[in-house]
Amino acid sequence: MEKSVVFNNRLLPYLLLVPQLIITFVFFYWPASQAVRQSFLREDAFGLNSEFVGLENYQSLFADPGYYKSMLTTLVFSSLVAALSLSIALLFATQADKNLKAAGAYKTLMIWPYAVAPAVAGVLWIFMFHPTLGTLARPLRWMNFDWNPLLNGTHAMILVVMAAVWKQISYNFLFFLAGLQSIPKSVLEAGAIDGAGPMRRFWTITFPLLSPTTFFLLVVNVVYVFFDTFGIIDAVTGGGPAGATTTMVYKVFADGRLGGDLGGSAAQSVVLMVIVIALTAVQFKYVERKVQY
């Protein structure tokens, strides 16, 4: 049972909430409501006038095959990034949790990538994998592998997935490691005496006890792949080639900022917002039930 604090001054609790409320309002509710308003308007070519068009932006959006393509791209991209970054981070964390000699240095090095800005991370990866300049693309070509993320959509997707996963592993690693360290050692020892080998111990004891961490990271990672990977995609592929890496959030930017279709772009961001809210709600409703606290 949590204790509730009683304030003597009736205004004080509200005053203490104000900074957080202002931030949420200015950076979420206001832009979100602007997007909703904008999605019902159409602007003329010169940005001088806008007229109310009702659901027309949504209608043309859902009639556009390009939009469904970006949905599919997002689905592929986000499931790959979330699955890979979570599982690789978990693998690394279980290794770091063992009593290794250089565990401290290893942990520090693991965490560094998180300090790199997404766009910078993207640039690093393009330097490594650029078909003509890339240091790692050259050996691939020597092996007669026709590596070209600038022309080949699948290659481009692989590249942005790698960059996005690399960037997110540190964050997931940190939480998984903390989660692993909070599992009492004696419980695992009891498992060993009870005849469970290392793998069975992991799947029947460690993994279930880690589920609160995993669930939290799943929610955070889904939000990450939907929104925060924008910088990486913009720096690495610019959504190309031929829209192969245009995720929904990138399309919002491409259509609105580059294409000048503010109404359409706003409609897209509303749809995106609804999808993410729905996904998070589903996660809390269904996945959380299986979580062991």
């Binding site: 009492p184 004696s186 419980v187 005496i193 004891i205």
Partner: protein, 363 residues
């Protein structure tokens, strides 16, 4: 059913620290062995070495005629009860007990029979569907016991299993464990720092100090004939009174005793004193000033000081301050504070040790 034999077992950590310095003992089939000692004496480490949770630096551990040094914990056919119980928090009580059986590929009907039998013995029948967090400390303890007995292992290992329980429950569970062990007659090794637990549970008592065995034997033998001053002050509460034989006053009382030439320390248990004006031939009489009195009801502890010139014996855990003597008398009547009393002990109640306290003199 197995005996456990330790042959010159040592444990040296990477830094060079020697936690276990060559230990030998043998626990016979079905016997209850208790390892007792102060914290840091290596008793838990030794138990974990038997379990296979710690490596053995040298020597041999033999379970049921098989050297298990290189054998995984799971293959040693042992079960362990941990101090914090180490229950699987995400599993029901039933699954906690069934886990080890499932890992060994046992069929579900057989598992059900065994778990239900264990639950019946430990009175856990109504709690099989609960999670560990919904149980009280004593119930968790019983689940930990249940997890050990369903496996029907060759050896039970207990690592201070009662130290997280409150005093009353601890005594109740202590009796339960002893009864259960008798009934199953499974060889057991039990670690504790509580000398009372050690005395009441053990068939064989191993007193440890600083990574070494101080004394091994039947608990009553150890109580009656402690082989070092450490054992003398560790086993028995309140501890044995230890007095240096430097002052002529004590030595002169013992002139008839053949042991006195080699002895440097005299030990007398608090209950072996009587308050009396008569002198005992060959015994010891001490003049004491009463400083404090503890009345427990059935008995009374009298804390007195001897002459101020009384000198300190090397400080060991559980030992009395220099010059202080505890006398235990039955009943609730006794002297008052500040009174001068005369405490006498019969000759057969005297324990004599060498000056370094490492050896018992005489019988």
């Amino acid at each position: 059913m197995a005996n456990v034999t330790l042959r010159n077992v040592r444990k040296t950590y990477a830094g060079g620290f020697e936690a276990i310095k060559g230990i030998n003992f043998d626990v016979g089939d079905g016997q209850f062995c208790v390892l007792v000692g102060p914290s840091g004496c290596g008793k838990s480490t030794l138990l974990r070495m038997v379990a296979g949770l710690e490596t053995i630096s040298s020597g041999e551990i033999d379970i049921g005629g098989r050297v298990v040094n290189q054998v995984e914990p799971a293959e040693r056919d042992i079960a362990m009860v941990f101090q914090n119980y180490a229950l699987y928090p995400h599993m029901s009580v039933y699954n906690n007990m069934a886990y080890g059986l499932r890992n060994r590929g046992m069929k579900e009907p057989e598992i059900k029979t065994r778990v239900e039998e264990a639950a019946r013995i430990l009175e856990l029948g109504a709690m099989l569907d609960r999670k560990p967090r919904q149980l009280s400390g004593g119930q968790r303890q019983r689940v930990a016991m249940g997890r050990a007995i369903v496996r029907q292992p060759k050896v039970f290992l207990f690592d201070e299993p009662l130290s997280n329980l409150d005093a009353k429950l601890r005594i109740a569970m202590r009796v339960e464990i002893r009864k259960l062990q008798r009934r199953l007659s499974t060889t057991s090794i039990y670690v504790t720092h509580d000398q009372l637990e050690a005395m009441t549970l053990a068939d064989i008592l191993v007193v440890m100090n600083g990574g070494q065995v101080e004394q091994i034997g039947n608990p009553l033998d150890i109580y009656q004939k402690p082989s070092t001053t450490f054992v003398a002050s560790f086993i028995g509460a309140p501890p044995m009174n230890l007095m240096p034989l430097r002052s002529d006053e004590l030595k002169s009382q013992l002139t008839g005793d053949a042991r006195v030439d080699q002895a440097g320390i005299l030990g007398i248990r608090p209950e072996d004193f009587a308050i009396s004006d008569e002198s005992v031939t060959g015994g010891v009489a001490l003049g004491l000033t009463v400083e404090a009195i503890e009345r427990v009801g059935a008995e009374t502890f009298v804390y007195g000081t001897r002459q101020p010139e009384a000198q300190a014996v090397a400080a060991n855990p559980g030992e009395l301050p220099p010059g202080e003597v505890i006398v235990r008398i039955p009943g609730a009547v006794g002297p008052g504070i500040g009174e001068r009393i005369r405490a006498v002990a019969a000759p057969d109640k005297l324990h004599l040790f060498t000056a370094d306290g490492r050896q018992r003199v005489g019988d």
